[in-house]
Symmetry: C2
Subunit: 151 residues, 2 copies
């Protein structure tokens, strides 16, 4: 999670996109580290989790990441949660919740991971509130940034 926070900070400095970071761990090591690049890449799908999944898949040469765990500074949005499901990642660990982000002006779909899991009958396990204080401080730091852009 520290690596995910570090990557998110780097993304903020580069004005790459929203203040979000994600890391995929495989066999106890960070396989991919990514931040949100929606603005830099002009690509609405470039959330931190999607970027991390794409890099991990490329490295492992398979769409099947069932032996991985994903850490995300904020609860994955429904797009990212569904991508995690498709990638067969069995566990997602996150800090702040979707609500903490939506109130900052992002165009969030208000569907929690728990709800997605329950309605969609997904087996992905979800561990919320991990290092939440640090993840909240990340969002608060972003609040102070001049010229920040939501989308």
């Amino acid at each position: 999670m520290k690596l995910a926070l570090f990557s998110a900070q780097r993304g903020i400095k580069r004005s790459a996109g929203g203040p979000f970071g994600a890391v995929i761990v495989y066999k106890g090591r960070a396989l991919s580290v990514a931040h949100n690049t929606v603005l830099k890449k002009n690509d609405p799908t470039c959330h931190a989790e999607i970027n991390a999944i794409r890099e991990a898949s490329r490295k492992l040469k398979t769409f099947d990441l069932r032996h991985c765990v994903i850490y995300s500074t904020t609860e994955p949005c429904p797009m990212c949660f569904a991508a995690i499901h498709w990638a067969r990642i069995p566990l997602v660990v996150y800090g702040t919740g979707i609500r903490d982000v939506a109130r900052r002006g992002f165009n969030e779909l208000f569907i929690s991971n728990q709800r997605m899991k329950q309605i969609g009958k997904s087996k992905v396990r979800v561990k919320p509130d991990f290092m939440k204080e640090e993840c909240l401080r990340l969002l608060e730091g972003w609040d102070q940034k001049a010229g920040k852009k939501t989308y």
Copy 2:
């Protein structure tokens, strides 16, 4: 939709991934045409709709596709529906439903676009059953394919 069907057929021939195609229309012209490439690219995010959104964003140089419409041979999965929401595409038109695909063995999250829209309070409009017969024939054609792979 005919272009989306054509692209899906090409994807089947190439064993690129599932039997799905999508097209994004902008100012009355097809801006991007894509099929699923999950297997070819070893990337669980490479659904037809995501591929089409990425290409359209690249061409228009913006994550904001609010002046576009997306056509998809099958109801977008929750990942793709949320991506459409993030891209601000106001209308999605599709043929067959998620159920038609899930019964063919794909690891679908059972959440319809209507449900995603309603729970997530999304303004994306959804037009189902468009050229449904042709889209169903696409899936039936895929059923006959030797060595087809679901994921």
